[in-house]
Structure formats: structure tokens, C-alpha cells
């Protein structure tokens, strides 16, 4: 049970961070001037968004080793942490597609004047994104991004389908070994609820804190 929690947290944290990075990259790619990059980004998002995460899990666990050159695939199958690794890969790819869509809509919501101001002071494209566009985007998209991360955390439960020893898998293990599954499942449910709600809470606090520098001060009298 404790190991289950550890693995769940590990999967959730690693996939959240990696999907945030990958998602940002894809979102920027989709705004690129270079058509092949844009198309690739679009293709990525459509492919991953329209196919369930569970299928990707199964794919990376069962099919991926098969299509590798034979020796390599067997080595992977023998690797005891392979279920966890496959889970992380699958969930990262899956989540990144949603994250990139969120970031993209955030980027679109930054007024074009910001970009023009950055251009006319001579910032390069990367600098424009790094210092001007992305920081504003992240402040704007914090709520949907938080919701997405909660989803991703909950999705880690799907990894039991490929025997990654995470929390939900642990409860089923307990059920089949000791028939005390009811207690275990209750505990697990409570854990998911507490963590999800805390992520939500943290996002709300973070949002308030970040808003202080930009938005909520609108109401302040200025001179």
C-alpha cells in the first residue's frame, strides 16, 4: 500500500513535469513559421488526444517491445521497472497533448502588441517566448493547467492495467490476496481525493499569489 502510494506519486510527478516541458515545446512548435514543424505538432496533438490514455499504456507496454529489434525487446520485458517506465512514457505523451493545447490557447490570448513590443526591442524569437510570451501565458492558464494535472494524477491509476505497482494496483492485489480490498480501496479513494483537492487548493493559492502582480491590482487606485 505504501509502496503503491510512492509509485503513484512518482509516476504523477515525473509525468507532470515532463509533459509540461513536452507540451510547451509542442505548443511553440505549433506556432512556428516552419510548416513541417507546425504540421508535426498538429499531428502529435490529434493522435494523442483522440486515442485513450489506456490504449497508449497498453501500446507502450505490450507492443513497443515487440516492434523493437528482438534482443532489445526481450531485455525490456525482463527489466523489472519496465511497467513503471512504460507508464511514465505513455502518460507523459498523453498528458503533453492536452497541456500543449492549453498552452496554445494561452499563447493565443496574449495580445499581439506584446509580441510586437518584444520584437521591436530586438528580442530573438526564443527570447520573446522565454521572457515575454510564456510567462504571461502560464499565469493565464494556471486554472486549466491545474485541472489537467489533477487528471493526470488520477490517470496514474490506469497504470495498473500494465501491472505498474501503483496505488490502485496495490488495492486489487490486497483484494485478491487477503480479501481486505474494501478497506484498501476506501483508503486509496481517500488518498486520491485528498491529493486531488490539495492540488486544486494549491493552484487557487498560487493563482491568487501570481495575480497580485498583474490583475487584481486593477481595482487599486493609482496615481
Amino acid at each position: 500500500m505504501i509502496t503503491g502510494i510512492k509509485v503513484t506519486v512518482l509516476i504523477a510527478v515525473v509525468t507532470s513535469v515532463m509533459s509540461l516541458l513536452l507540451g510547451t515545446l509542442i505548443a511553440v512548435m505549433r506556432k512556428s513559421r516552419i510548416t513541417p514543424l507546425r504540421a508535426l505538432g498538429g499531428l502529435y496533438v490529434e493522435t494523442f488526444r483522440n486515442i485513450p490514455g489506456l490504449l497508449w499504456l497498453l501500446f507502450f507496454y505490450f507492443v513497443f517491445p515487440e516492434i523493437l529489434p528482438s534482443g532489445l525487446g526481450e531485455k525490456l520485458n525482463a527489466y523489472i521497472y519496465f511497467p513503471i517506465v512504460a507508464s511514465i512514457i505513455a502518460l507523459t505523451f498523453d498528458n503533453a497533448s492536452y497541456v500543449s493545447d492549453i498552452i496554445r490557447s494561452g499563447l493565443l490570448a496574449v495580445p499581439p502588441g506584446q509580441r510586437e513590443a518584444a520584437i521591436s526591442t530586438g528580442l530573438s524569437r526564443i527570447q520573446q517566448y522565454r521572457y515575454v510570451l510564456l510567462p504571461q501565458t502560464f499565469r493565464k492558464i494556471l486554472p486549466p493547467l491545474g485541472t489537467r494535472m489533477i487528471h493526470n494524477f488520477k490517470n496514474s491509476s490506469l497504470c495498473m492495467a500494465i501491472t505498474a505497482p501503483e496505488l490502485t494496483w496495490a488495492t486489487q492485489q490486497i483484494e485478491s490476496l487477503t480479501f481486505r480490498g474494501l478497506e484498501a480501496t476506501t483508503l486509496a479513494t481517500a488518498f486520491y481525493i485528498v491529493v486531488s483537492l490539495s492540488i486544486g487548493g494549491v493552484i487557487i493559492i498560487l493563482e491568487k499569489y501570481l495575480k497580485i502582480d498583474i490583475e487584481s491590482i486593477t481595482h487599486m487606485e493609482t496615481g
Binding site: 483522440n50 489506456l54 505490450f62 480501496t185 486520491y192 481525493i193 491529493v195 486531488s196
Partner: protein
């Protein structure tokens, strides 16, 4: 390429499972469950969504708790609850299909409730004021002015939610329902050397449904706009302008 074509020979199994000889399965069961849950949870969700907007705490708080708790729980765990434990507690036997439907309805009710709430909030306050001042009763105003507008604005969200619910139905594979995923896995186990092809078929099945629905959602979004719940910050609960009759409502934050 020919191994793919060979896989398409199994199309019937992918689409409807062993039906009519056996139970319905494959892609159609994903669609059936998603649709059924959508319909059930639309009505219950509407109640919870409007309940959450109530100024009376004994109505709104339970709704908030339900919505937030369910949204915080993985769908898979809900499915396990209804598959493993509730039947044994109640001493009844529910089929796999129905336990999936109930669990996923509970799940989607919470999300639909939020969509309904968002739709109602997106209708400008002035609409209620205008309707009331033209002499309508609150019920008339809600029925003829507020809800039709709200419903229009909810439509794209419903469609997008349907897509995510449809994808979520794949979890019932884990409890053994022969849905599209299970069907594909069964076939792939029968012919391990054709694994890739059968996964491709599953993927195509999900993709076609999701992709076409997402186009529908996009078109609707263009027509009616997108709900943005996060931009709404309620300050004071105005009983006199809410959907509900003036009562002992207290102002809530």
C-alpha cells in the same frame, strides 16, 4: 500492409464483439455506455449544477461536496467500487455492463453539473433583470430566457465532455467488459505476431469517433463560444437575481 488488411477481416469483432451470438461488445459498447451515461448524468448533473448555484447552503454544500469529491476520484476507482463492493454490500448482483454504466454515470454527473453551472453563470445578470422587469415570473424567466441561452452555451462543452467520457469508457476493459480495447487485446493475444496491427485497429476505432466529435465541438464553439468558468468570480450571492425564488437565502461568499 497485408497483415493490416487481414486484421480488418475481424472488423465485426472490433465493432460489435461476438454479437449476435454473444453479448454486444467492441466499439459499440463504448459508444452505448458513453451515450447512456451522458443522458443519465445530464439530468442528474443539471440538478447538482443548479443546486450548487443555490444561495441556500444546505442545498449548495452537498452539491459542492458531491461534485468535488467525484471529480477528485479516478474513474477507474469508481468502476471498482461499483463492480466489487457495492453489489456485495447490497447483496445484489449487477451485470458488468450496468455496474460500468452506474459508475461512469456517477463520474460524469459531476462534470456535467459543472458544465450546467458554467452555462447558467455565462448568461449575463441583466437578462434575469430584464425578464423580471417585463413582468415574467421567476419560473417563466428561467424557462424562457435563462435556460435556453444557457443551454446553447453549454452545447460545445457537452460534446467535448462526451469525447473525454468516451475515452474514459476504455477503463471498463480492466474489469473485463469486452469493449473495443478488450476486443483488440483478445485478438492480439490470439495472434501475438500481429499485435501491432490489432492495436492500430483499436486506435483507428477510437480516433474516428473522437476526431469527428471534436470537429463537431469546434463548429459549435465557433457558433456559440466557449464557457470560461475560471473567469467567473462570484462575490455576493444575489437571491433576488438567482434562478431560485427569494427565500431565507443567506449571502455566501
Amino acid at each position: 500492409m497485408d497483415f493490416l488488411i487481414e486484421q480488418f477481416g475481424n472488423w465485426k469483432f472490433y465493432l460489435i464483439g461476438a454479437y449476435p451470438k454473444g453479448p454486444l461488445g467492441g466499439l459499440s459498447i463504448n459508444i452505448a455506455i458513453a451515450l447512456l451515461c451522458m443522458i443519465i448524468s445530464f439530468f442528474i448533473g443539471a440538478i447538482f449544477g443548479m443546486g450548487r448555484l443555490s444561495c441556500r447552503r444546505y442545498i449548495s454544500y452537498p452539491c459542492i461536496i458531491y461534485i468535488e469529491f467525484v471529480r477528485a476520484t479516478p474513474a477507474l476507482l469508481l468502476v471498482f467500487w461499483f463492480f466489487l463492493f457495492i453489489p456485495s454490500v447490497l447483496g445484489t448482483n449487477i451485470s458488468l455492463f450496468w455496474s460500468s454504466v452506474i459508475a461512469l454515470s456517477i463520474y460524469s454527473t459531476a462534470y456535467q453539473a459543472e458544465i450546467v453551472r458554467g452555462g447558467i453563470l455565462a448568461v449575463p445578470r441583466g437578462q434575469m433583470e430584464a425578464a423580471l422587469s417585463s413582468g415574467m415570473t421567476r419560473f417563466q424567466a428561467a424557462r424562457t430566457v435563462i435556460l435556453p441561452q444557457a443551454f446553447r452555451m453549454m452545447l460545445p462543452s457537452f460534446v467535448s465532455f462526451f469525447i473525454s467520457l468516451f475515452k474514459e469508457t476504455s477503463v471498463i476493459y480492466i474489469i473485463g467488459v469486452i469493449d473495443l480495447t478488450q476486443a483488440g487485446v483478445i485478438i492480439s493475444q490470439r495472434q501475438p505476431d500481429r499485435m501491432f496491427a490489432s492495436y492500430l485497429c483499436m486506435a483507428i476505432g477510437f480516433f474516428v469517433v473522437c476526431f469527428s466529435m471534436s470537429r463537431v465541438a469546434k463548429t459549435l464553439e465557433k457558433k456559440v463560444g466557449i464557457l470560461d468558468l475560471s473567469s467567473y468570480r462570484p462575490t455576493v450571492c444575489r437571491t433576488d437575481l438567482s434562478l431560485y425564488p427569494r427565500g431565507r437565502g443567506k449571502s455566501a461568499a
